[in-house]
């Protein structure tokens, strides 16, 4: 590329071409369409000046201000009701409904897997392994805690609890106190997620975790221990 063409390109980016230069540019461009690529590269150089100023951290409060402007979005359960309406109106046949269910399950599983991978990739995530006992022999569960969330990842050897029973995850403190973090019933995805757990399993004074079988979430365990955890 000769110097005059380069100058034209620079003038285009700087938006200072004269009428005569515009004519020259149009002629050159018609003869050499590859110039568009060079023009794009020069635009990138121009925009790279955004990186040329000294980095200054914004005030810490700004992030929350921006996040507080979140647009209102329909909640997932509203979508569920809408979908139910479509189904009940006969919009889909039984086969279509079955396929939609399968697809939804596959999408959900994929989403859950991505959440687990994301949690594992986060260096702040803490993990505790629990192993099954008695009725849950051979079962393992991993409790991932971080960023205010808890994921309980379990294998398929963890059976569902009897009817009217749930599993409760307990945090056991150094002084032996047992604090319920949350309750769950194993699902088909193998992952339970609590966005706002009753108690964070990675609290500073927690020594280990355990899972018991209970009629419901209670202040103290009364049922049998199903899984026990290693020391934290």
């Amino acid at each position: 590329m000769n110097d005059s063409t380069e100058e034209l390109l620079a003038g285009l980016v700087l938006q200072d071409l004269s009428a005569q230069e515009w004519e020259e540019w149009e002629t050159q461009m018609a003869n050499d369409p590859a110039l568009a690529q060079e023009l794009t590269a020069l635009h990138t150089v121009w925009h790279s000046l955004a990186y040329g100023c000294e980095a200054v951290a914004p005030p810490p409060s700004l992030k929350q201000k921006i996040l507080a402007t979140a647009p209102a979005r329909p909640r997932p359960w509203l979508w569920g009701i809408a979908a139910l309406g479509i189904l009940s109106s006969g919009g889909l046949g039984a086969w279509g409904w079955f396929n939609a269910q399968q697809l939804r399950l596959a999408q959900r599983e994929l989403q859950v897997q991505r959440e687990v991978v994301a949690a594992l990739q986060n260096r702040d995530t803490q993990m505790v392994t629990l192993t099954g006992r008695d009725t849950a022999k051979g079962a393992t569960a991993r409790v991932l805690t971080g960023q205010g969330e808890v994921l309980v990842v379990f294998n398929q050897k963890l059976p569902k609890p009897p009817k009217d029973q749930v599993y409760v995850l307990w945090a056991i403190t150094k002084d032996g106190k047992k604090i319920a973090c949350g309750k769950f019933i194993p699902n088909e995805t193998g992952v339970i997620r609590w966005a706002n757990p009753r108690f964070m399993p990675n609290a500073p004074n927690v020594q280990t975790l355990a899972i018991t079988q209970e009629p419901d979430l209670r202040d103290a365990p009364t049922g049998p221990m199903v899984m026990g955890g290693s020391a934290i």
């Binding site: 980095a55 914004p58 700004l62 992030k63 959440e115 949690a119 990739q121 997620r193």
Partner: protein, 186 residues
């Protein structure tokens, strides 16, 4: 559901933002908040205005969805929007004519992807600042007047008391020099 992580790509985060996922916006802000704020502060020279502009830029991305992934990277969209809106504010503040509807519908120019988009913001800052440090002070000043203050060549000529032709030639030359300094990276 909340499956975004610091290793999610810009495009994944943008899709999350479109679905109203605040975690995606939080991560994108952590990635580009300092870049946008620094540029806003450089253009406007006032912390409060820079904060307002940063908020405006991110909420524009969130609410108006003007970003089109086929036209360039998220980083370029954010910096171009910051600069154009910042210069708009400057001109309003200085009671000059508002920027003509130059940014209109798109508000930004398409740019190349490739290598440049694959390095972190910090690396881009280091590379651009290293390249700028190799320019003479006068050359840097010309670019600063044109880029950060949005002055036209005629306004720069008036401010520096130089002939318009000289300013045009020098500014073009310094842009091409910067192109050569960043040759292998863009």
């Amino acid at each position: 559901m909340n499956f975004f992580s610091p290793s999610s790509t810009d495009q994944e985060l943008f899709q999350g933002i479109q679905q109203g996922k605040s975690r995606a916006m939080a991560l994108l802000y952590e990635r580009y908040g300092t870049l946008v704020y620094s540029l806003a502060l450089r253009v406007l020279q006032q912390p409060q205005e820079a904060e307002d502009l940063t908020q405006e830029v991110f909420t524009t991305l969130w609410h108006k969805g003007g970003y089109n992934p086929q036209r360039g990277s998220v980083a370029t969209y954010l910096t171009t929007l910051t600069r154009s809106r910042g210069i708009d504010r400057l001109r309003m503040r200085q009671a000059r004519l508002r920027l003509a509807q130059r940014w209109g519908a798109g508000e930004w120019m398409p740019v190349a992807g490739g290598l440049w988009e694959q390095v972190s913001v910090q690396e881009r800052q280091e590379r651009v600042q290293a390249a700028l440090s190799q320019l003479e002070a006068e050359q840097r000043h010309l670019l600063e007047l044109a880029y950060y203050q949005g002055l036209t060549q005629a306004q720069i000529a008036e401010q520096l008391n130089l002939p318009l032709g000289t300013v045009k030639t020098r500014t073009r030359a310094v842009l091409l020099k910067l192109r050569k300094l960043l040759q292998d990276q863009i």
